[in-house]
């Protein structure tokens, strides 16, 4: 197996820090949960590292629903990372 293709989205200051609104990534074998994905993304480069530096401020949605870090993703999933929401 060659890994899992995912669509990653970033919002607000996470988008600014990563420098991208979205990217398609192939998570390598062994990266199976959202928490593992965070660790792998953060290790990619300084921009990603900066976006993920404070885990307390990172929220995750899997296929447009809030999800916790122990959840496993599947091929083709949409994973979004963003700070706590401030609408209303």
């Amino acid at each position: 197996m060659d890994g899992t293709t995912l669509e990653i989205l970033y919002f607000a200051w996470m988008r600014q820090r990563v420098g991208l609104a979205s990217e398609r990534v192939v998570a390598p074998p062994g990266i199976a949960t959202l928490g593992e994905l965070v660790g792998w993304l953060a290790a990619r480069d300084a921009a990603h590292a900066s976006a993920f530096e404070n885990p307390r401020l990172v929220r995750v949605a899997l296929n447009q629903e809030f999800a916790s870090l122990n959840v496993r993703f599947a091929p083709g999933d949409e994973v979004a990372f963003f700070p706590p929401v401030t609408g209303g």
Binding site: A12, A61, Q64, E65, A80, P83, V85, T86, G87, G88
Partner: protein
């Protein structure tokens, strides 16, 4: 029966009220909340810019509305949230909840705005008179307000 919209344009409260209640004689009360871009001399804001997660936003608003309709026995509700750049004084969000009786209408209005604030994927950045822009931080008080329900 919920009306959910995310839009850049202003909303017309009178028209939304009419759409929710005209000809529906079983409605006894409509609760309403309008949130606006606030600016004070101590914390001057020229505008807010609202970003959202298109797709998830509509889903999460629809889910919140459905919960409110069930829990408070609503005859209908409306949530309209604006996005983009909104100068000080502009309306940001409209919540309407129609029910047979006033207490349910008012409680549902509070429920909807409290949950929207903590679970709908919107983010605000503030522009200040010195030309700076900063992201608004989430407030602990908003989580507490939503957990009351």
């Amino acid at each position: 029966m919920a009306t959910i919209r995310v839009q850049a344009e202003p909303f017309d409260v009178a028209r939304e009220l009419a759409a929710l209640s005209d000809g529906r004689h079983e409605v006894g009360g409509i609760g309403c909340f309008v949130g606006t871009v606030r600016s004070t001399p101590e914390r001057e804001v020229t505008a807010l810019t609202l970003e959202h997660y298109s797709g998830m936003t509509e889903r999460s608003l629809a889910a919140i509305a459905e919960r409110a309709e069930e829990r408070f026995g609503l005859l209908g509700c409306t949530v309209i949230h604006r996005v983009g750049r909104l100068p000080a004084g502009e309306a940001i969000v409209l919540v309407l909840a129609a029910a047979p009786h006033r207490q349910d209408a008012l409680d549902a209005t509070g429920f909807l705005i409290d949950w929207l604030k903590t679970s709908a994927p919107f983010w605000k950045s503030e522009s200040t008179p010195d030309g700076q822009t900063r992201w608004v931080e989430a407030r602990e008080a908003d989580d507490t307000a939503a957990r009351r329900w």
